[in-house]
């Protein structure tokens, strides 16, 4: 595969400017410049990309078209005929979603001595958590403090975050690292035990903990192994939730699952429910490619909304500035921010810098789009995809030969498969849909506006405000996964369950009709539609 | 002289005292054991059916890897020795099967490696006469010697058999261990079961039969008034040593007998620091009887810590 002749020409320029660039880094933008850049180039600000919701607790709020369609769709379940008297699984805490947040919740719930059922859509661990490469933040060095971490999070979120949630995030962080380690996560350390910590976009201290560039995988597989080690937690794979079930007091009381292989419906009765279904990159807002896993279709937000949960920050998505733009086979896949963290600069077709490499993600992404769309300084691939260069060979110059191989094995492997050696050649990148900043509105204990319904992880909204910093999501899923799991279990011990009902689904149908909507599609989506059927 | 060395798995775990003492002894004698790079398990059993080529892939890979690093390889473990040498023999004798295995392990091994047991190196390259000399020097320097210690040299089966393939010594009437012990200045005792199997291979199929066999070996050594028994095989060592607690329960009057690796005894005779030679892994603690012979300090222990007299209580499980 490797690069085309035209791309090689441009790479020559990148190489030519490299010695000079080793000495100079583009300046950081001022807050005003950042705002201007965002308004003009960030996809969140594109008018045609969003519309106002017409029904539900967030009626009137701007939401991406693709998500709004699903939020305003019909249920996959017919509430008039579904038999709620036949219960297939009875449990105390039902955790929906087998990613990092779900696994953390299941563990902490089990520790309270209740029965736990974890249901997930694909295999346990087929999740965005598995894909995180860069790291997890926690202020645990003497130079750093939870207060400084707080400022970074709030500023990164453009001062829109919910302060109490941020406080919980930063104060629990060191404890979470300790917990993960006690379960067996192998964080990168110096021989004396000092954690190796790096900067991420928007951080003022180095606090990114990593496990080579498999940080999320290391966390996910460790949590998964721990869940499997505990007989009191039952795991159901290939069993996505398609609707929540409430009781006649309006409390969450279970869910209807679908056996993905047989299509059968399964009814789970639970005392409390934790939603941890993750993000929605596979909805491909505005046609953007995504870094997300196959199952990231926003299901949990959809069923929570139908059950009456309030959402927050639905009009903001995170576009990761460095998605692979070439080769086509890995279009949209993440090139970890750690590459820039290690010192690689971003340059245009002429090999010139145009932005500070570690601006917050939204600003960085907007700058890439401007460079390509407005200034015409992008590199165009054979399929017409624009991109800018991420100068990874600089890392070898800065940190010594062999650093790329050692610090970025997953990245090296990814590109080597297509004949590109990133220690010697730069990577072509362009923004890709990465993270759902908003979602189900949370309290600090993971509770939502629906009684007995908890949520944690990427499904939620409020922690990151309008923009999440790298490394705060792996942190969020463990901090709030643990909090939600614990709170859900404690609540489960005192709940007086009522009679199961799907009344809220009937009510939803009425609301749709009142708003004059007659949607033809059903939701949640469950799986993206990529098949091409001939005729 | 550096000798390419294959430790094997057991010597990295339960037999680490064998490994540590062997390396120390070799170094002191100027025969440094240099561990092979990147080795895998030998398989621990030589496949008894000749068409079981897959089971030979592991040892064949070890041989091919060792050949790429030198002309020979030495082992301490009698099992590894048996498996590697026999595999080598097989590969030398059957060019066609050698090719098939080579294809599978993606190597081009020609069968031209020399597999040695460390005992052979001592006998044929250093020579027991030279060893005796070194022991004398150590005795003069330290004032300690093994004189008067009665040692049962136990061969077991894997070190010698099949004789045609291994050719280490006469399988029915060997004397390499006796010669070695003499060079060390102690007194080898003759006992009837020295080339009998200790039964460890039967542990899984018939624990009872295995127990009888080990008991026979120890009884026979005890009748010869041995103070301790030495072996070159980690499996024999473990089996003979570990089972004694049970024997003591079943046979009133049973006298525990420490089971050592020959290298541990060599190290003592050569006056080396023996602190780290896995003594804690022995179930029947050999230190009291050795302390009696004046070797207390080498363990970093004074004699009185063992309560003065010979106290051969089995250690608890490590």
């Amino acid at each position: 595969m490797s690069y085309t002749a035209e791309m090689r020409e441009s790479i020559k320029k990148v190489e030519a400017t490299r010695p000079r660039r080793m000495e100079e880094t583009h300046r950081r933008l001022t807050l005003e410049e950042q705002q201007d850049l965002l308004r003009r180039f960030h996809p969140d600000y594109l008018r045609e990309g969003m519309r106002e919701l017409r029904v539900g607790p967030n009626a009137g709020d701007r939401t991406p078209n693709e998500f709004a369609d699903l939020l305003e769709a019909r249920s996959r379940v017919d509430p008039r005929t579904f038999d709620l008297s036949r219960v297939d699984y009875d449990t105390d805490v039902l955790v929906i979603g087998g990613g990092g947040a779900g696994a953390s919740a299941a563990l902490l719930a089990q520790e309270q001595g209740v029965r736990v059922l974890l249901a997930t859509k694909l295999r346990f661990g087929d999740a965005n958590t598995m894909m995180a490469q860069g790291g997890i933040q926690a202020a645990d060095r003497p130079e750093d403090s939870p207060a400084i971490h707080y400022l970074d999070v709030i500023g990164g979120g453009h001062f829109t975050n919910i302060p109490e949630l941020v406080e919980a995030l930063v104060m629990d962080a060191p404890e979470v690292i300790r917990w993960l380690e006690s379960l067996g996560c192998m964080f990168d350390k110096l021989p004396d035990g000092t954690m190796v910590e790096a900067h991420g976009g928007g951080t003022s201290r180095k606090r990114m903990h990593s496990a080579r560039d498999y940080t999320g995988a290391e966390i996910m597989r460790t949590l998964r192994d721990e869940v499997r080690s505990r007989p009191d937690i039952q795991v159901l794979e290939f069993a996505p939730a398609i609707e929540l079930v409430l009781d006649d007091k309006g409390q969450a009381a279970g869910a209807i699952l679908m056996n993905l292989e047989t299509g059968d419906r399964l009814l789970v009765r639970a005392k409390t429910v934790v939603l941890a279904t993750g993000g929605s990159g596979r909805l491909h807002y505005q046609g953007f490619p995504t870094t997300n896993h196959y199952g990231a279709t926003g299901d949990g937000v959809v069923i929570a909304y139908r059950a009456g949960a309030r959402l927050a920050f639905m009009d903001t998505m995170q576009y990761h500035p460095t998605g692979a733009a070439y080769p086509e086979q890995i279009l949209g896949l993440l090139v970890t921010e750690k590459v820039r963290g290690l010192g690689a600069q971003v340059v245009n077709v002429d090999g010139e810098q145009f932005v500070y490499p570690l601006e917050t993600r939204d600003v960085e992404a907007a700058a890439f789009i401007r460079e390509c769309k407005e200034r015409g300084k992008g590199v165009i691939t054979p399929t017409g995809q624009p991109g800018v260069w991420l100068d990874s060979p600089m890392i070898e110059w800065l940190k010594g030969p062999g650093t790329v191989e050692k610090a970025l094995p997953a990245m090296v492997r990814q590109f080597k498969r297509f004949g590109i050696d990133i220690a010697k050649e730069p990577m072509l990148v362009y923004p890709t849909l990465h993270y759902q900043n908003g979602g189900v509105l949370l309290q600090t204990d993971g509770s939502t506006t629906v009684p007995n319904l908890f949520a944690a992880g990427e499904i939620s909204g409020g922690v990151h405000g309008r923009n999440r910093l790298m490394g705060n999501s792996l942190l969020e899923i463990t901090v709030f996964g643990r909090r939600a799991g614990r709170a859900a279990a404690l609540k489960a011990k005192e709940v007086k369950p009522g009679r199961l009902t799907l009344e809220h689904v009937l009510a939803w149908e009425r609301q749709l009709a009142e708003a004059g909507l007659n949607p033809q599609i059903v939701s949640p989506l469950l799986l993206p539609e990529y098949t091409r059927h001939v005729r | 002289m550096a000798i390419p060395y294959y430790p094997g798995c057991t010597l990295s775990t339960r037999g680490r005292g064998y490994d540590a003492s062997g390396r120390a002894v070799a170094k002191a004698l100027g025969l440094e054991l240099q561990e092979l790079q990147d080795w895998n398990c030998c398989g621990a059993t030589f496949p008894l059916s000749m068409d079981n080529l897959l089971a030979m892939a592991g040892p064949a890979r070890v041989l091919a890897g060792a050949r790429a690093q030198g002309e020979r390889v030495a082992t301490l473990c009698a099992i590894c020795y048996n498996v590697l040498k026999r595999t080598n023999h097989f590969l030398q004798g059957d060019a066609e099967k050698r090719e098939r295995i080579n294809h599978f392990i993606e190597a081009q091994y020609a069968g031209d490696l020399r597999v040695q047991h460390f005992l052979e190196v001592l006998r044929d390259e250093l020579g027991f006469q030279a060893l005796r000399q070194r022991v004398e020097e150590a005795r003069e320097a330290t004032g300690r010697s093994l004189e008067g210690l009665k040692v049962a040299p136990y061969y077991g089966c894997l070190l010698l058999r099949p004789q045609k393939e291994l050719q280490l010594d006469d399988a029915e009437d060997p004397h390499i261990l006796e010669d070695l012990l003499q060079a060390l200045g102690c007194q080898p005792v003759d006992f009837s079961h020295r080339v009998e199997c200790c039964g460890s291979y039967l542990l899984v199929t018939s624990a009872e039969l295995a127990a009888d066999m080990s008991f026979g070996v120890l009884q026979s050594a005890a009748r010869s008034a041995a103070d301790l028994l030495v072996t070159a095989c980690p499996l024999c060592q473990y089996n003979l040593d570990y089972r004694q607690a049970e024997m003591a329960r079943q046979h009133p009057g049973f006298q525990p007998l420490p089971v050592l690796y020959f290298t541990q005894l060599m190290g003592l005779a050569l006056g080396l620091d023996a602190t780290d030679w896995g003594w804690e892994l022995h179930h029947v603690d050999p230190r009291p009887v050795l302390t009696e012979h004046g070797y207390g300090q080498v363990f970093g222990v004074r004699r009185s810590e063992f309560g003065g007299g010979p106290q051969r209580t089995p250690n608890s499980e490590p």
């Binding site: 694909l122 295999r123 999740a127 894909m131 202020a139 645990d140 003497p142 403090s145 207060a147 707080y150 400022l151 970074d152 709030i154 500023g155 001062f159 104060m171 060191p174 404890e175 380690e181 006690s182 379960l183 067996g184 192998m186 350390k189 035990g193 000092t194 954690m195 900067h199 003022s204 201290r205 995988a217 290391e218 597989r221 460790t222 192994d225 007989p231 896993h293 086979q329 890995i330 993440l334 997953a410 492997r413 990814q414 799986l527 539609e529 990529y530 098949t531 091409r532 | 798995c9 990295s12 775990t13 080795w39 895998n40 398990c41 030998c42 398989g43 897959l54 892939a57 592991g58 599978f104």
Partner: protein, 226 residues
């Protein structure tokens, strides 16, 4: 530009697909709605283990469907699931010792060292090498060598003696992370400070600031140099 189509055989059935596609995208192009055998689509989750042959070539190849580009006359099938042993344990009461490894996975000692696992690993890990280390009880080395394992299960699927290499590997990594990795004193110190309430006041203050004050603070942050 019309794309070149090449024939591939999915479970024996022929489909003509664009030559630039990965196996996964080719299956979707052919009309499969994937449920099993797909996860991250980025080479991290191990859901898409695939075995294939090329016509006229006697070698069996292994790869991840999401990472491997199709080739003409490729015969392929996915192995989305393979039964493998997993020991029951409680990591908090284990000891990081070889004996524990052997007692939890006694079959470990059956490994022939044949290396079939290494050939099957789509991550190009030295599986045989870490199994050899495991048999030696070298837990730290297993953890290091197996670190990039995505637990796709191809090693176990191919093993002639039925080992579950990847499960042994994760046990070793967890033992290493929990017991053998050097402790982080600065982390312990920070936890003690948090327990002592040392940051409570600073956070209360930050939460009470007006937007403008907060912005000013944010702007005035000292950025730690690279």
């Amino acid at each position: 530009m019309t794309e070149e189509l090449v024939p591939v055989f999915i479970m024996g059935k022929r489909y003509d697909v664009p030559s630039s596609l990965t196996i996964m995208k080719a299956m979707e192009y052919a009309g499969y709605q994937l449920v099993r055998g797909v996860g991250c689509r980025g080479g991290f989750c191990g859901a898409c283990a695939t075995v294939y042959r090329l016509q006229g070539d006697d070698t069996l190849y292994f790869g991840l469907a999401c990472q491997t580009v199709v080739q003409p006359n490729m015969y392929l099938t996915q192995i989305p699931f393979f039964p493998a042993q997993r020991a029951e344990y409680d990591i908090s009461t284990l000891q990081p010792r070889p004996e524990r490894l052997f007692s939890l996975y006694p079959e470990l000692l059956r490994c022939l060292g044949c290396g079939t696992c290494t050939k099957a690993c789509p991550q190009e890990l030295d599986v045989k090498g870490y199994m050899a280390a495991a048999m030696r009880g070298d837990i730290a080395r297993v953890a290091d060598l197996s670190f990039d394992c995505i637990m796709c299960g191809l090693c176990a699927a191919r093993c002639p003696v039925g080992e579950a290499q990847y499960n042994i590997a994760i046990l070793c990594r967890r033992l290493y992370g929990r017991y053998l990795a050097p402790r982080s004193q600065h982390l312990e110190d920070r936890l003690a400070e948090i327990r002592a309430g040392q940051f409570n006041q600073a956070l209360e203050e930050l939460k009470s600031l007006s937007l403008d004050e907060l912005k000013a603070r944010y702007k005035a942050r000292q950025i730690e140099p690279e």
